[in-house]
Amino acid sequence: MSAPLHGLVLAGGRSTRMGHDKAALQYAGRSQLERAFALLEPLVTRCFVSVRDDQRNDPLRARYPQVVDAAPGLEGPAAGIVSALRAHPQAAWVVVACDLPFLDAGTLQHLIARRDPTRLATAFRSSHDALPEPLCAIYEPAALAALEQFISGGRNCPRKFLIQSATLLLEQPTAEALDNVNTPAELDQARSRMSAPTVAPRALNVQYFALLREQAGRREEVVTTGAATPRELFAELASRHHFTLAPEHLKVAVNSEFTDWSRPLSAGDHVVFIPPVAGG
């Protein structure tokens, strides 16, 4: 008889490359964390979010059952996995990173249906490099002792742990399902790759200055668009107005404050693309 299956959504990362909390990134109006949790919860007996101690009361995370990192000195996903195995040693864990925007229920069902409880883990072989994908995988109760030994040797890479363990490796049913998103550029790519339009068209107010004003032939316009972010909006307007400045030369302001190119745009937002400045 195999161990009951619990779910663990990893949301304790420091998001250093993204620059802000990855769990809160939104696709189609829903945070990555909400999305991952909603996918996993129906497939497991209990579902938790993995958090660092200082994230327990974060509003995004506080509403979920939590497994708090309890592995002093250990950083990264291994801390979350070992903390879950210690907290509920009778359970096997489906571990899912929160930053997999293309993860689908079919992929998770495939993993669970082919689980081999006699191994330490069941995981997918990456469609990119054929190595095990540790952050969409099942860890059996017996993995705890092996993982404890692995980290006691000063190691913390869960992928290396799976490589050296008795892991059942499965082929991914959908090649891109486990593509993750670590940088603002990857986030933009992911958003534009989403097949369904993620944002219903709505009206945005765009104001132009200097060279962009001259090239657009107007000071302002109301643009009805499904562009989710300033980057997508600029791409749309650049092709319409034949702007000669590339986005890397511009900054962007929404509602009269500087912001980043991946910020979601809402109906009625006032958007200004800022060419290289030359005051003084």
Binding site: F209, A246, H249, K251, S256, E257, V277, G279
Partner: protein, 167 residues
């Protein structure tokens, strides 16, 4: 009145200086940016300044606050001209009064440097040749066409070209 503002009319440095006079201050320093007759090998006839005023005032006030915190000065004013400017006119005026000269000089330098790099103000130069161009923009645009983006711009950073018409 805000310590950073825009004006569409000529800047009167003497009047602005009077706003800063304070018996607690032992020194005053000022920087004036003037419209110069040449830039990058072109003879300049006149200039046009344009600003995104709502954000410009916010960013300018942030810069003044930073200077006050950094150097402990209290009497600061920066005024930037907009519209069409002729040679010899004042484009930007920064004044700082302080208890001692050292912090006044440092704060003044800090403010003008930051204003040039951060405040959304654009300058169009009109040349004797009949040509005109947006300073710092045309070069970027030319580079875009060449697919040559490796000259240090990245979103979220100051635009680092510095082809000012003065100073």
């Amino acid at each position: 009145m805000s310590a950073f503002r825009f004006t569409a009319t000529p800047i009167d440095g003497t009047a602005l200086r009077a706003e800063l006079i304070d018996t607690h201050c032992g020194g005053f320093t000022c920087f004036e940016g003037w419209v110069r007759d040449h830039n990058e090998g072109q003879q300049v006839l006149h200039l046009e300044y344009e600003a995104f005023e709502a954000l410009g005032v916010r960013e300018g006030e942030r810069i003044v606050r930073e200077a006050c915190e950094k150097y402990g000065v209290t009497r600061v004013l920066c005024v930037h001209r907009l519209g069409d400017l002729q040679l010899r006119e004042i484009a930007v005026w920064v004044g700082v009064a302080a208890a001692h000269r050292d912090e006044a000089f440092k704060a003044c330098r800090y403010i003008i440097d930051e204003v040039k790099h951060r405040v959304p103000i654009w300058k169009k130069e009109h040349y004797v040749s009949g040509d005109s161009g947006w300073v710092n923009c045309e070069r970027c645009a030319a580079h875009s066409h060449d697919h040559d983006h490796d000259h240090g711009h990245s979103p979220g950073h100051a635009h680092d070209h510095d082809h000012s018409s003065h100073g």
